[in-house]
């Protein structure tokens, strides 16, 4: 029996009106690892994220962070407990500079202005935003905004970072850079749970992959196992696809 996972989610469910968006999802994220949550559009990945971080209250289920039940906590309480998310659609503080954006994150653990500013500059520089630190966040490119999302979250010194499609909309070069950046964050001791569509990145990064389709988990395993899982292939490519590929 290995150590208890850093994040343990069980029975997580959410219904919007008559639509069961997430059905009894359970997943574990071991400390220090990188776990990916994949699935077709509308599978309920982002809703699951929102429930894990307190943005949406789940109808049922439990979210435990390092053995502590954080189900139903407010997002800021969850962040203070060490679990911070990024947004698929980047949400910069457009009127602030890049450094000021990151400093909002740094202020979670550091009350002193000079120290928080220094921490924000360090994180920004480390994550490749050095030349942009004093520019307005609105001036960033899409790739820059994705980096800013990660930098702000990293500046809060999280134990667990939840990345929601940080590679969507990026070109292959930028994806490679972000993959390196995520490796770097992990090397600094941060555990990572990511939602991703870019399978190349998932294969390169994840120790373990959970596959969600129509709100339910249909598979879990290493990237290699998942790629050969018939249920997963069908979810992505349609009914009968696995048989056709195999034949």
């Amino acid at each position: 029996m290995p150590d208890a996972p850093l994040l343990a989610v069980s029975g997580l469910s959410k219904t919007f009106g008559g639509l069961a968006a997430v059905k009894s999802v359970a997943l574990d994220v071991p400390a220090g690892g990188i776990v990916a949550l994949v699935g077709p559009n509308g599978a309920g990945k982002t809703t699951s994220f929102a429930m894990i971080c307190g943005f949406i209250r789940p109808d049922a289920g439990r979210v435990c962070l390092a053995g502590q039940d954080v189900t139903g906590w407010r997002p800021d309480q969850v962040a203070a407990a060490g679990m911070v998310r990024t947004f698929q659609i980047t949400q910069p503080f457009a009127g602030l500079t890049v450094m000021e954006n990151i400093r909002v994150g740094a202020y979670l653990r550091i009350a002193n202005r000079a120290a928080a500013t220094q921490a924000a500059r360090d994180v920004g520089t480390r994550l490749g935003l050095g030349p942009m630190l004093d520019r307005p966040a609105a001036a960033l490119t899409v790739a820059g905004r994705k980096r800013l999302e990660v930098a702000r979250a990293v500046a809060t010194r999280p134990r667990l970072l939840l990345l929601d499609e940080v590679m969507a909309g990026l070109n292959p070069t930028e994806i490679n850079e972000i993959v390196g950046l995520i490796r770097q964050v992990q090397a600094d001791g941060v555990t990572i749970l990511l939602i991703e569509h870019v399978m190349q990145a998932v294969t390169a990064l994840a120790d373990k992959v959970y596959v969600l389709a129509e709100g339910a988990l249909i598979g879990a395993g290493t990237p290699r196992e998942i790629a050969g899982n018939p249920a997963v292939i069908e979810a992505y490519l349609g009914h009968g696809a696995a048989a056709r590929m195999g034949g």
Partner: protein
């Protein structure tokens, strides 16, 4: 230039009572400084926090009535009722902030709720015997410093000046502190702020408490200056409109915006009053100015600085 200009303005403003002996000039200066102070109060929550209140008169009126009622009913010195008035304003601010952000009201919904609070208070003040209804409360003339009444107008100018300095210190603190940064984050993007650990309800309530307490202080000074208050003076919508206009003309969310705004507004309003002295003209003019500012200068006059720097 950035460093000596504010100092120069402050020194000049502090010298006004030394050179100006006419009542007119001292009054004009006092009202302008007072207006800048109230604009800064609005700016603390409205500019820095994006909480566009249309009901700041509620805080002003609560402060004014707290001061007037306590000294006329119980004969307690206004100096003693002053802290109570400030606390009441802060509590009202915190309560509005708490209720509105718990209910998730933002933007125009927040504006409507605050407007409603001020209007409800106005109606209550018009009907309640404690506030002597529409008659208003007249403070007995008894000019001694212990009564917060002064024979020399310039004392009030000095007090208004100190209050403005206090409010500007608070604004300056907002640009430099953790709380100010978190408030700006809430203004720019609530979801992102929450994700980064900012407690939205607490931050908004605190900003409104700060702003409400200071605004109530303004209400106290007003009553002591004019020795009279009635429901329209205390809770009327013009009060709020002037406050937000001053902040928005000058530049909402900037430390010096309300000062610029108050100077411009008083110059424009007072000179236009000489030319056209028709009732209702000033509010109409305010409306036109507000439209122009929102349409063409969303960052106020302070935003023009960027134009020159870029050019």
């Amino acid at each position: 230039m950035r460093h000596w200009l504010p100092v120069l303005i402050a020194v000049l403003a502090a010298c006004v009572p030394l050179v100006a002996h006419s009542h007119f000039l001292v009054n004009l200066a006092t009202l302008t400084v007072f207006s800048a102070f109230l604009g800064q109060c609005w700016n603390i929550s409205g500019g820095f926090g994006g909480l566009t209140s249309f009901g700041h008169a509620a805080f002003f009126g609560v402060g004014a009535y707290a001061d007037a009622v306590i000294q006329t009913r119980w004969g307690i010195s206004p100096w003693a009722s002053l802290p109570l008035a400030v606390v009441l304003g802060a509590v009202l601010g915190a309560a509005i902030g708490f209720a509105a952000s718990r209910a998730g009201l933002r933007g125009s919904y927040f504006a409507l709720v605050t407007l409603a609070v001020a209007e409800v208070l106005r109606v209550i003040a018009s009907a309640s015997p404690i506030t002597q209804g529409g008659l208003g409360i007249l403070i007995k003339l008894n000019v001694t410093p212990g009564n917060f009444q002064f024979s020399d107008d310039r004392v009030f100018y000095g007090l208004a000046f100190l209050m403005l300095a206090l409010s500007m210190a608070v604004a300056q603190w907002l640009t430099m502190s953790r709380f100010g940064t978190q408030l700006a984050a809430v203004r720019e993007n609530e979801d992102a702020a929450r994700a980064l650990g900012v407690a939205i309800v607490r931050t908004k309530s605190a900003a409104l408490a700060l702003s409400g307490g200071l605004t109530a202080l303004g209400g106290v000074l007003y009553v002591q200056m004019f020795l009279y208050v009635d429901p329209n003076i205390a809770f009327g919508a013009d009060r709020t409109v002037e406050m937000l206009l001053v902040a928005m003309i000058g530049g909402a969310g900037t430390v010096w915006g309300p000062v610029l705004g108050a100077i411009l507004l008083h110059v424009v309003a007072d000179t236009s009053r000489i030319a056209i002295d028709a009732p209702g003209f000033a509010p109409m003019l305010y409306g036109v100015i507000l439209l122009l500012i929102v349409g063409f200068l969303p960052k106020g006059v302070a935003g023009l600085k960027g134009w020159f720097v870029r050019a």
